[in-house]
């Protein structure tokens, strides 16, 4: 790990609002510590901009520990930057080299319109979730262990799928801006558990139909989503989504 501070050139997408035409602006990030996170580096650049009386770069962030999925940023051609399995807030500046030019763009998807600079409107995901990504009845407090038997393999798989943080990197990475990985994770996490089983057909039909309505693309199985997902959601979920959807439609 190098401890030398770095000087970087940033090429950042700036766009006043959803209606305006955006463009790239170039900024210098001076004396950046390799131990900073990517967002901390952005904070430093923004401090300078504010001091100079300029509009700081707008970017989304919240938890800064890789669990909220807010920090959407397309860095040097990759969703959340060059390191596998992390969000932009968990990306450290030591993953870059001194003197490098870093290009930063917002997620690009018609269903995720740019609000300002790097911030996009990801409420399409919320509407998909609201269309069926829940269990309708109050399931009460924690039941006795083993009162409802769940196979270990199912529990593990459901848990893996539930790790999705709704960050949208899958959409950003897909050449078709398809939301299949996200939707498949949300459908899977319920379909494999007894609590979710009751509404599984209704759920998958409603969520897919909302996904289509939002204008996401279709899945060509390029598997770019899986490679860029910070939570390691597997495309096995997409096969399960296809299966769930076909079964629901054929037996409706």
């Amino acid at each position: 790990m190098s401890s030398e501070n770095m000087n970087l050139t940033l090429k950042v997408w700036r766009q006043r609002n959803g209606q305006s035409q955006g463009s790239f602006e170039t900024y210098q990030a001076k004396s950046v510590s390799p131990d900073m996170s990517f967002l901390e580096m952005m904070d430093v650049v923004n401090e300078d901009l504010i001091k100079g009386g300029k509009d700081p770069i707008a970017f989304d962030h919240d938890c800064r520990e890789g669990i909220c999925g807010t920090c959407s940023m397309y860095i040097n051609g990759r969703a959340h930057g060059p390191v596998k399995g992390v969000t932009a807030c968990q990306l450290h500046m030591r993953s870059f080299i001194d003197g490098e030019t870093i290009t930063i763009e917002p997620w690009r998807a018609t269903a995720f319109p740019v609000l300002k600079d790097l911030i996009v409107d990801r409420s399409a995901f919320d509407r998909i979730q609201q269309a069926g990504g829940f269990v309708s009845v109050n399931t009460g407090s924690v039941p006795d262990a083993n009162a409802i038997p769940v196979a270990k393999a199912c529990a593990d798989e459901a848990f893996n799928s539930a790790a999705c943080i709704g960050c949208g990197a899958c959409v950003a990475a897909c050449k078709n801006s398809s939301a299949m990985l996200f939707v498949s994770a949300k459908v899977s996490q319920y379909a494999m558990l007894p609590q979710g089983d009751v509404e599984r057909k209704d759920r998958v039909i409603k969520m897919v139909s909302q996904m289509d309505e939002e204008g996401f693309g279709t899945c060509t199985n390029t598997e770019a989503c899986e490679a860029e997902c910070p939570k390691g959601i597997s495309v096995t979920n997409i096969a399960r989504l296809n299966r769930e959807y076909l079964r629901a439609k054929l037996t409706e």
Partner: protein, 263 residues
């Protein structure tokens, strides 16, 4: 039924159409390549020409072939619709796009590969299918020794109105029984066509496109149908790469090369 039709309108439904039509086309490739292997037989094209008669006159096969033309149309039109919808979903692109290495080139270029295949298919149909059905494919009369089964030399070109495929047995001057077979000589058309270097190159390009289309497409169609399994998925991928992506395109490609080099 209404629900089924609506399903086919959804994003997943459209992909299911791609998958089912694609798999049907794969099954056709298998039949087509096996049948055409008869081009390599050292019999002046008799077996190939007889096979052609069977393929164009046997009613169940005729029905399947019309189904096949419809399938190609549906697959191509639907791929255009999907590609357009996918473009619309990414109206503004990235400046610095770097795709992860795990996502294959073929998977990202199915539209281009398919377009090359479509151009190839149209040329291919014009060259042979149209020639056979409506063009002036010559008629040939083969003589086959009934005892040895040997084809007795090059067939004789015959002309006339209202010719139809038939065969009969004749005894020749030295008392041998000879089977006389009269068929349209598509073999001669094939042989002649592949003396043109440009056509051979087009066929080779077509087969390269087919190879890449299959390496991604075969396994992709199973994923689309929701078929994924720890044991069987690697097997499906293997069949997609080796059988449909390598062996079949190579066998097809060997046909124009065989005639061009007059092997």
């Amino acid at each position: 039924m209404g629900s089924m039709l609506k399903m086919l309108n959804s994003s997943i439904g459209q992909k299911v159409i791609m998958s089912l039509t694609g798999l049907f086309l794969c099954s056709f490739l298998l039949v087509h390549v096996s049948g055409n292997l008869q081009l390599f037989k050292d019999d002046h094209g008799l077996a190939f020409n007889q096979y052609t008669v069977f393929m164009t006159t046997f009613t169940p096969i005729k029905i399947v072939s019309y189904l096949l033309y419809a399938t190609i149309l549906i697959h191509a039109i639907n791929s255009l619709l999907l590609t357009m919808a996918n473009r619309k979903a990414r109206a503004v692109g990235y400046q610095s796009r770097k795709d992860p290495r795990s996502s294959s080139w073929a998977s990202k270029n199915m539209g281009i590969l398919g377009t090359i295949l479509l151009i190839f298919l149209i040329t291919h149909m014009a060259n042979f299918w149209y020639q056979y059905k409506f063009g002036d494919t010559p008629w040939a009369e083969y003589s086959v020794d009934l005892n040895s089964g040997m084809v007795l030399g090059e067939p004789i070109v015959i002309e006339g109105e209202d010719l139809h495929p038939h065969e009969y047995v004749r005894t020749d001057a030295s008392g041998n029984e000879v089977n006389v077979v009269v068929v349209k000589n598509l073999y001669a058309v094939v042989k002649e066509a592949f003396t043109q270097p440009l056509l051979v190159v087009l066929y080779l390009i077509g087969m390269i496109a087919l190879a890449y289309h299959m390496v991604h497409g075969f396994q992709s169609s199973f994923q689309t149908l929701g078929i994924r399994h720890n044991t069987y998925t690697p097997l499906i991928r293997g069949i997609g790469i080796w059988l449909f992506g390598i062996i079949i395109p190579l066998l097809f490609a060997a046909m124009p090369v065989y005639f061009f080099l007059q092997l």
